[in-house]
Every structure is written in structure tokens, then in C-alpha cells.
Symmetry: C2
Subunit: 242 residues, 2 copies
């Protein structure tokens, strides 16, 4: 457990690989970590079970789950009955084509709530596992968004105003890494990827654990990542193999 004097960080934790590695990095950076997850109407809600496992395994001092019904907003295959695209030839390769799994303004909203949480608990660092290399072309994963959000957060809050100097910093340690590099980093930091889930359209086994579809963009990028890292993929797929 981190000492009480360690600086506190809010870490956005989805239950996926990238946020797990980000949390492990925050711990390695000496942070006392408060994980934050969202029950937002996602079809892959089983990821919250994974987030809880990861938070405990990596020694978070707290893990909060905030309810926010993004189904009321809609506009995404992840929060509606719209089908999740499957077996796209090169997911993430053409980043001018933002796929149907894009959730409008999701990182903007999640980071905003992370700022709120950070302000309440007195944390100044916000960790987020966005990645602008092996990703789905989501605009809110790019460095220019992260930098602009950080400026806005410091103008939006009591803590930001009372400090004078920028109070919050947004840390995106994976932003320029490939998926294979993220996996290598995670293994070096003690992440157990079997606890994580990436699939946008999973089933759940009798014990409540996820079974990945193996065909959505998130699965394809994850599979390619393990191949690139030459590491065995611990993911459990529907039918036993992707």
C-alpha cells in the first residue's frame, strides 16, 4: 500500500488493458491511486467486474463506480441496439473513418468527472489510458485533446482557480505507444491481462466472467497486440479461440 504521504491520483479504469497498464504506471510513479469507473449503459458492462479485480490487484486505495446513463444520449453501437462492427479488415488503420463504436464525447465526460473526483479528494494528477497509435481513431484519444482538456479543467474548478498556477495535470502515459509496447510495459509492471477485458460485444460465463467475441475492433487490436508482443494471449474467447 502507498504511504499516506504519496501524492494522490485519479485513474480512469475501464477494465481493459490500457487502463490497467496506466494504473500500474501510476503506482510505479509513486501515486496513491483512486480508480474511477463508469456504469454508463455500456453493452460490455462486464468490464466493471474486471475493473474491480484490476483495482484490487494493483493496490488502489479506492475504486469508485459512477452511474451515468449514456443510453439517454445514444449515438453509439456501445450504448444502443446498433450492431458492433465485426471483422473489419484493419481496425485503426484508417483513422479518418471513426467507427460506430465511437461514444460521443466519452473521454471529455469521463475526464470531467475525474476532475470532479480529484477536486473532492485533493488529487492533482489524472491518469488516462488513451492511445493514439493502435486505436480506433477516436478523436478524444489524441494529444491535442488531452492538452486542451487540461487547460479547461484548470479554469473550471475551485482548485484550479485558487491555485493560480495550473493545479491539475492529465497524464496519458500510453499515448504514443503501440499495443505491443503497452503489453510489454504492463507485463513489466505486474499487470495480469487475464483480469482485463477489451471486447465490445462479450458474453458472460456462468461465473460472470467475460468471454470475448474475437471479432470486434477491440478484440482484433488486442489479438494483434499480443502477437506483436510475442506474448501468449490469456483472453477467453467465445468457442475457445478467436
Amino acid at each position: 500500500m502507498p504511504a499516506a504521504s504519496n501524492p494522490s491520483a485519479v485513474v480512469l479504469l475501464s477494465g481493459g488493458m490500457d487502463s490497467a497498464v496506466t494504473l500500474a504506471q501510476a503506482r510505479a510513479d509513486g501515486m496513491s491511486c483512486h480508480a474511477l469507473s463508469f456504469d454508463y449503459g455500456q453493452r460490455h458492462r462486464v468490464e466493471l467486474r474486471c475493473a474491480a479485480l484490476v483495482a484490487a490487484h494493483l493496490g488502489c486505495v479506492a475504486h469508485k463506480v459512477v452511474s451515468l446513463d449514456l443510453r439517454a444520449i445514444g449515438g453509439s453501437a456501445l450504448t444502443s441496439a446498433q450492431e458492433v462492427p465485426k471483422d473489419r479488415p484493419q481496425p485503426g488503420a484508417d483513422q479518418s473513418q471513426i467507427p460506430a463504436t465511437y461514444v460521443p464525447a466519452r473521454n471529455l465526460t469521463f475526464l470531467s468527472l475525474a476532475v470532479a473526483h480529484a477536486e473532492v479528494i485533493g488529487a492533482t494528477s489524472l491518469y488516462i489510458g488513451v492511445n493514439a497509435v493502435d486505436y480506433s481513431g477516436y478523436p478524444d484519444c489524441r494529444p491535442e485533446f488531452i492538452a486542451s482538456f487540461e487547460r479547461t479543467a484548470n479554469l473550471a474548478t475551485r482548485a484550479g482557480v485558487e491555485d493560480g498556477a495550473p493545479h491539475f495535470r492529465v497524464v496519458a502515459p500510453l499515448i504514443t505507444m503501440t499495443k505491443a509496447q503497452i503489453i510489454q510495459r504492463g507485463l513489466a509492471l505486474g499487470v495480469d491481462f487475464a483480469m482485463t477485458t477489451s471486447c465490445y460485444d462479450p458474453l458472460v460465463d456462468a461465473a460472470g466472467a467475460p468471454l470475448a467475441c474475437g471479432h470486434c475492433d477491440a478484440c482484433l487490436i488486442r489479438i494483434r497486440g499480443f502477437e506483436g508482443a510475442t506474448v501468449a494471449d490469456p483472453t477467453r474467447y467465445i468457442g475457445g479461440a478467436a
Copy 2:
């Protein structure tokens, strides 16, 4: 009702005076208005009833209420058991003292969800009734926050990226007005202030309508506004008078 060809706007609607006048202004600007409210665990949840009345009265094409449990975040007298300050001598006068009713990063979060909604429905204008004159000193009511948020929103979204040019604009028509000016503007635009509620700590009558406490910052600023505008105050107070 606006013609289908009118540009669409998302208008943040709390049920209070300022957002009602902002909505009336958006209608006067020729907008087809989609009102957006939040059921966020606020102790003055009765404001949502007022928001529905105002949305209907001012001809919104739709009114959406999104659930978001900010009690999980806490840090505010509005979302916790913490007491709402009463009878402060000059609420809003000392803007270096942000009061206990500040909700961490509330406008940042609400605007983020407004961007999400706007992206889904194809609206490019976001109206918000923030005011940096007769207000409680909240940092997220200041022009510099609004301008920075607008830049961030355009970097955060598919619509912002695909457009190249800035896609979303945040309109804050009341930001430099006094409360008395806001009331005068509202009356000129047909707002019925009896439909609105400002109180942070209201009771509710047998019919479900709010009765204002008359002593919280929001009540004191509202009362002073009606006095300044030399307009009769239609608010119903607990006990019959403030």
C-alpha cells in the same frame, strides 16, 4: 414551433431563471431547441419539474433528462447532507470565496454531455445560462472557462474533427448581465418566472410544486434581482414570504 430547417441548439435547462431566459434567447435567435437537464442527485430535484414546464412553455422540440449520480462524487452541499449556507450577508459579492454549494466541475460535466447530445442530434450550438456578474463565484461560470471549453469540445468529437473548422460554439448570452437585466430580458422574451425555481433547499407543496427557503444564496440573489428590476417576485416562499 420552429421550422425543421432552423438550426438546432442544445440548451442546458436547470429549471432556474437563468437557463429559462437563455432558452428564450435561443428561441429568439431562431434556434430549434433541444433542452437538456440532469437528474444528478441534487437536493433541489424539484427543479426538474420546473424545467419540464419551461421547456414546454418556450416551445422546445425535445427535453431530455440524463441521470448522473453526482452524490457518488460528493464535495458539495447540493449533493450531500452538508448544510446549505443561509443568510450570508452578500452572496456573490466576494468571489474569492467559493461557497459550499459549489459542485465540483459541474458545468464542465454538463457541457460535456451537452456536446455529446449535440453531436448525436446534429446541433452545433450549445446554450448555457452562466453568469459572471450576480452569481456565487463559481469558476465554471467565467468567460475564460467557456472559451476554453469550446476549444476542447471541438478537439474531443468526431463532428469537431471531421469539420476541420470549429464545429461547436458555446453561447452564454447572460454572461455579462446583472440579475436584474436577466429578469428584464426574460420578461421581454415571454419567460414566466413563476414556472422557475432557484432555491437550493426548497420544500415541495402537496401538488409537487417548489416552495423556496428565501435564505440560501440562490434565493437572496433572486430576491435582489427582482428588487433591482422593480418587478414583482412571483416566487412562492415557505411561510408565504422571504
